[in-house]
C-alpha cells in the first residue's frame, strides 16, 4: 500500500485514489449540513442558494418584460415595477453572480490546488450564513415594502424624505451582510491560494480558474469596504441626521455616485473574471490542446483588475463633471478593452487547430465568447463619452450589460455547471437536454437583448414602467418580451436536467472529460478529505502529465473517462 501511494502516477487513471473517511453519523442529516465546515458541502449550499435567487431574479425579470410587452400596459403599477427592478438588479448581482463564484470557488479551489480544505473552514461557513441571512433580510421586505430606488439607490431618491419605507434599510443591510460574507470569503480564498498549493504548483502552474479567483478575491477586498462605508453613510443620513448626500445641507449626491461606482465597476469584473477563468479551463480540455498564451491570460487578468479600479466614473458621464475628468475615464475604459481583447483572442487561438469535442460545457463557452464580443464592443461605444450622452440610461445600456453579465457571466456559470456537475454529484448531466437548453437560451437571449440596443437608440430610457404607442418602441419591446420567455424555457430545461440527472444521470467516474487539473484526480464526488496523496505538480496540466506517464509506462492508451462518447463524431 505504501509503495503504491508514494508513486501514484503509475496507476491507471480511473482508479480510486482517495478513501472516504467514514465517521458514524451521530446527528440528523440536515443538522450535518447546517453545522458543516467542509468546503464541498458549503460550496453545494452556495450553489443551491444562489440558484434559488437566480430563479427569483429571473421571475422578476419576466414580470417586468411582461409589463413592457405592449404600450400603456396596466399589469403592474409603477410602484411595483420600481420595486421589481430594484429587486431584480440587487438579487442578480449581490445574491447570484458574485456568490455563485464563491460557490464554485469553495468547491473547486481546494480540489484544483490539491488542498484538503480551505484555510479557514469555520470562517467559510460564516461567509455562507451571512449571505443566507442577507438574502432573507432582503426578501422579507416582500411582506412589507420592498425597496424601490434601483440597485444603485442614488440619493436623494434613496434618502428618507423620498423613500421613507424600511425596504431601503433592508437593502442597506443586504449590502452589509453580503459584503461581509464576500469579504470573509475573499480573505479565505486569498490565504488558501497563497499558502496551500500542492507541491510543485508555482505561480506559473496555477490553473487559470484559480488565477481568476485570486484576482476576484483581491478586487473584493479593495472594493467592498468602499460600498460598506457608502451605505453606512446613507444609513446615517436616513436615521441619524447626517447630511452626507443631502444637497439641502451641503451634502452631495455626486459623492454617492463616486463611492458607489468605485465599488460598482470593480464589481463588474468581480462578476466576470471567474467566468473568464472557467472559459480558460473548459476550452483547453475540450480542444485537447494547451491553453494558448497562459502567461498572457494570467497577466491580462491582473491588468484588468488594476484598471478596474480606475474606470468607475464612466458611469457618471451625464453627471456634473468637467470634460477633462470625462476624458480620463474614457481613456481608462478604452485601456481595459485591450487585456479583455487579448483574452478573447487567446481563447479563439486555443480553439484554432484543436480537436474540438462539442460537449454542452464547450457550447456554453463558445456561446459566451460570441455574446461577450458584442458586449465588449458596445462597451467601447459607451466609453466614448459624447456618444454616451445619447446612450447612457437607455435600453442600449441595459442591452450592453446583459450581454456581458447575462450572456457573459451567466453563460460561463452554465458552462461551469455542465463541466463540474459530474464531479460534484458523481453523475453526468444529460448532454442532449443540455445542448437543447443551450440553443434555446442562446436564441432567447439574443432575441431578448439584441433589440434593446435599438430601443435605446430610438430614445427609450431604462426604468420606465410603461410607454406611449407611436414612439417606435412597441415592436422592439414585444420581440424582447417574447425572447425573454424563450430564454426562460432554456433555463428551465437545465433546471430539469439538474434535477433528473441527480438520480438518472450516467455515472461519471473520476475523470469523464480527460481533464487537465487536479480535481479530476479524485473520485466523483470527492471524499471529505479530497486526496489521500497529492501528486507533485510539474506543469499547468498535472492530470495530463499523469495520463501521459501512465501511457508511457503501461503502453496502453488511456481512454480517460471517455468524454469522446459525447462527441457527435462517434
Amino acid at each position: 500500500m505504501a509503495t503504491i501511494t508514494s508513486d501514484p502516477v503509475v496507476r491507471p487513471v480511473p482508479q480510486i485514489l482517495a478513501h472516504e473517511v467514514i465517521a458514524p453519523r451521530k446527528t440528523k442529516r440536515w443538522v450535518d449540513w447546517v453545522l458543516t465546515t467542509d468546503h464541498k458541502k458549503i460550496g453545494i449550499m452556495y450553489l443551491v442558494l444562489t440558484g434559488v435567487f437566480f430563479c427569483m431574479g429571473g421571475v422578476e425579470a419576466l414580470m417586468m418584460r411582461t409589463q413592457l410587452s405592449v404600450p400603456n400596459n396596466t399589469l403592474l403599477t409603477s410602484e411595483h415595477y420600481n420595486q421589481l427592478l430594484t429587486m431584480h438588479g440587487t438579487t442578480m448581482i449581490f445574491l447570484f453572480v458574485v456568490p455563485v463564484w464563491a460557490g464554485f470557488g469553495n468547491y473547486f479551489l481546494p480540489l484544483m490546488i490539491g488542498a484538503r480544505d480551505m484555510a479557514f473552514p469555520r470562517l467559510n461557513a460564516l461567509s455562507f450564513w451571512m449571505l443566507a441571512f442577507g438574502g432573507i433580510v432582503f426578501y422579507a421586505t416582500l411582506f412589507w415594502h420592498p425597496p424601490d430606488a434601483g440597485w444603485w439607490s442614488y440619493p436623494p431618491l434613496s434618502e428618507s424624505l423620498y423613500s421613507p419605507s424600511g425596504g431601503q434599510d433592508a437593502w442597506i443591510f443586504l449590502i452589509h451582510l453580503t459584503g461581509i460574507s464576500s469579504l470573509l470569503g475573499a480573505i479565505n480564498f486569498y490565504v488558501t491560494i497563497v499558502n496551500m498549493r500542492a507541491p510543485g504548483m508555482s505561480w506559473n502552474r496555477l490553473p487559470l480558474f484559480i488565477w481568476s479567483l485570486l484576482v476576484y478575491a483581491i478586487l473584493l477586498i479593495i472594493a467592498l469596504p468602499v460600498v460598506a462605508a457608502a451605505v453606512t453613510m446613507l444609513l446615517a443620513d436616513r436615521h441619524f441626521g447626517t447630511h452626507f448626500f443631502d444637497p439641502t445641507d451641503h451634502g452631495s449626491p455626486v459623492l454617492w455616485q463616486h463611492l458607489f461606482w468605485f465599488f460598482g465597476h470593480p464589481e463588474v469584473y468581480i462578476m466576470i473574471l471567474p467566468g473568464f477563468g472557467v472559459v480558460s479551463e473548459v476550452i483547453p480540455v475540450f480542444s485537447r490542446k494547451p491553453i494558448f498564451g497562459y502567461k498572457a491570460i494570467a497577466a491580462a487578468t491582473a491588468v484588468i483588475a488594476f484598471l478596474a479600479t480606475l474606470v468607475w466614473a464612466h458611469h457618471l458621464f451625464a453627471s456634473p463633471l468637467p470634460i477633462v475628468v470625462l476624458s480620463f475615464f474614457m481613456l481608462s475604459s478604452f485601456l481595459i478593452g485591450v487585456p479583455t481583447g487579448v483574452k478573447i483572442f487567446n481563447w479563439i487561438a486555443t480553439l484554432w487547430r484543436g480537436s474540438l469535442v462539442m460537449t454542452t460545457a464547450l457550447w456554453f463557452t463558445i456561446g459566451f465568447i460570441a455574446i461577450f464580443i458584442i458586449g465588449g464592443i458596445t462597451g467601447i461605444f459607451l466609453a466614448v463619452f459624447p456618444v454616451d450622452w445619447q446612450l447612457n440610461d437607455t435600453y442600449f445600456v441595459v442591452a450592453h450589460f446583459h450581454y456581458v453579465l447575462m450572456g457573459g457571466a451567466v453563460f460561463t456559470v452554465f458552462a461551469g455547471l455542465y463541466y463540474w456537475y459530474p464531479k460534484i454529484t458523481g453523475r453526468l448531466l444529460n448532454e442532449r437536454l443540455g445542448k437543447a437548453s443551450f440553443w434555446v437560451m442562446f436564441f432567447g437571449f439574443n432575441a431578448t437583448f439584441f433589440v434593446q440596443h435599438a430601443l435605446g437608440l430610438s430614445g427609450m430610457p431604462r426604468r420606465i414602467y410603461t410607454y406611449q404607442p407611436g414612439l417606435g418602441w412597441s415592436t422592439y419591446n414585444l420581440i424582447s418580451t417574447i425572447g425573454s420567455y424563450i430564454l426562460g424555457v432554456g433555463v428551465l430545461l437545465t433546471i430539469i436536467n439538474i434535477y433528473r440527472s441527480l438520480t438518472k444521470g450516467q455515472i461519471a467516474g473520476p475523470d469523464p472529460w480527460k481533464g487537465n487539473t487536479l480535481e479530476w484526480f479524485t473520485p466523483s464526488p470527492p471524499p471529505v478529505n479530497n486526496f489521500d496523496e497529492v501528486p507533485r505538480v510539474r506543469s499547468v496540466e498535472p492530470m495530463r502529465d499523469i495520463r501521459r506517464q501512465v501511457e508511457r509506462q503501461t503502453g496502453v492508451i488511456q481512454k480517460g473517462g471517455g468524454s469522446e462518447q459525447f462527441a457527435r463524431s462517434s
Binding site: S78, N82, D148, Y154, L157, Y162, P247, G251, S252, P253, V254, R288, G293, A296, A318, I323, S327, M330, F334, L335, V338, G341, F345, N346, I348, A349, L351, R353, G354, S355, L356, I366, A370, I374, I377, T378, I380, F381, V384, P386, V387, D388, W389, Q390, L391, N392, D393, A454, L457, P461, R463, I464, Y465, Y467, G472, T475, Y476, L478, R568, S569
Partner: protein, 280 residues
C-alpha cells in the same frame, strides 16, 4: 390566439417599426448630428472588429471539430502574434480617441445663431456662442414635471423680473442657439430630448448647462432619463420649435396670461383677506 395575431400584425405592419435600429436619434440640432457622426465612426470600426473576431470563432468551431480534425496541434502560444493583436487593439482605440477629440468641440461648444434666428442681444452667463448672443432658458426639474423659464434673468431673479414660464412643453425659435441652465429641486432627474442632443443629469445642488440649436421647426419628444420615483415614466418633456415671429407672439401671449392670472390670484387673496377667510 388573438394576442398572437396582434403581435404578428404589429411586427409586419408597424410603419416606424425599424426606425433607429443602428444609430441614435439626431437631425434636430448640430450637437445631436455630431454625436451621430461620431457614433457612426465607432460603429464602422466596431463592425470590422465584430466580423473579424466572430468570424474567426465560427470558423474555428466548424473547421476543428474532432471529426474533421482528429489530432490537435500542440502549441503553447506565439509571442509575436500575441504582441501583434495587443498592439492592434491599442491602435484601434487610439484612433477612436483622436476622432473623439476632433468631434468634441462641435458637441460641447455652442455655435452662433443663424441670421434668420431670433434677434438677440449679448449676455455674459456661461456657456456662450462666440458672439455671445443666445436665448437663455432655465429648466427646473422636480418630481415629476419640467418647468421652463424664458429669458436671460431666468437664473437669478426670475421672480423679481417675472420672466414668463411654461411646463412640460418648451417653445423655442428655430435657427437660434438656446442655452439651457438646468437645476433640480428634489431628486436627480435627467434632461434628454434625443434629437436635440445628449442627456444631462439634473442633480440637486448643482447647476448644469447644455445647448441646442434647432435646425428646423418641429415637435420633439423626450423624457426624464434618470429614475426619479414613482411617476418617472410620466415625466415627459416636449420641445416645440417655431419661427422667431411665432415664438415672440407665443411668449407675449404666455406673459400676458401669467400676468392676468397672477392679478386674479392677487384679487382673490385681497378679497379673502378682507373677509378674514385666510386664517391668521
Amino acid at each position: 390566439m388573438p394576442a398572437l395575431a396582434v403581435a404578428a400584425s404589429s411586427l409586419i405592419l408597424a410603419p416606424d417599426a425599424f426606425a433607429n435600429f443602428i444609430t441614435p436619434k439626431s437631425g434636430g440640432s448640430p450637437n445631436a448630428n455630431s454625436i451621430h457622426t461620431l457614433y457612426l465612426i465607432v460603429l464602422i470600426l466596431a463592425a470590422i472588429v465584430f466580423v473579424a473576431v466572430e468570424g474567426a470563432l465560427v470558423v474555428a468551431v466548424f473547421r476543428f471539430r474532432a471529426k474533421r480534425h482528429p489530432v490537435a496541434h500542440q502549441t503553447h502560444g506565439n509571442t509575436k502574434l500575441e504582441i501583434g493583436w495587443t498592439a492592434g487593439a491599442a491602435v484601434i482605440l487610439l484612433i477612436l480617441t483622436v476622432v473623439t477629440f476632433i468631434k468634441l468641440p462641435g458637441i460641447v461648444n455652442a455655435p452662433n445663431s443663424d441670421a434668420d434666428g431670433l434677434n438677440l442681444s449679448a449676455s455674459l452667463s456661461q456657456p456662450s456662442p462666440p458672439n455671445g448672443k443666445k436665448l437663455d432658458i432655465c429648466i427646473q426639474a422636480r418630481q415629476y414635471i419640467w418647468r421652463y423659464t424664458y429669458g436671460s434673468g431666468c437664473k437669478d431673479d426670475s421672480f423679481i423680473k417675472r420672466e414668463p414660464y411654461s411646463f412640460t412643453t418648451m417653445v423655442v425659435p428655430v435657427h437660434t442657439t438656446v442655452v439651457l441652465t438646468i437645476q433640480s429641486s428634489d431628486v436627480i432627474h435627467d434632461w434628454w430630448v434625443p434629437s436635440l442632443g445628449g442627456k444631462v443629469d439634473a442633480v440637486p445642488g448643482y447647476t448644469v448647462y447644455t445647448w441646442f440649436k434647432a435646425t428646423h421647426t418641429g415637435f420633439y419628444h423626450g423624457q426624464c432619463a434618470q429614475l426619479c420615483g414613482t411617476n418617472h415614466a410620466a415625466m415627459v418633456a416636449y420641445v416645440r420649435v417655431v419661427s422667431p415671429q411665432k415664438y415672440e407672439t407665443w411668449l407675449g401671449h404666455q406673459e400676458a396670461e401669467i400676468t392676468t392670472q397672477n392679478d386674479q390670484v392677487q384679487q382673490l387673496r385681497q378679497i379673502l383677506t378682507s373677509e378674514n377667510q385666510l386664517g391668521n
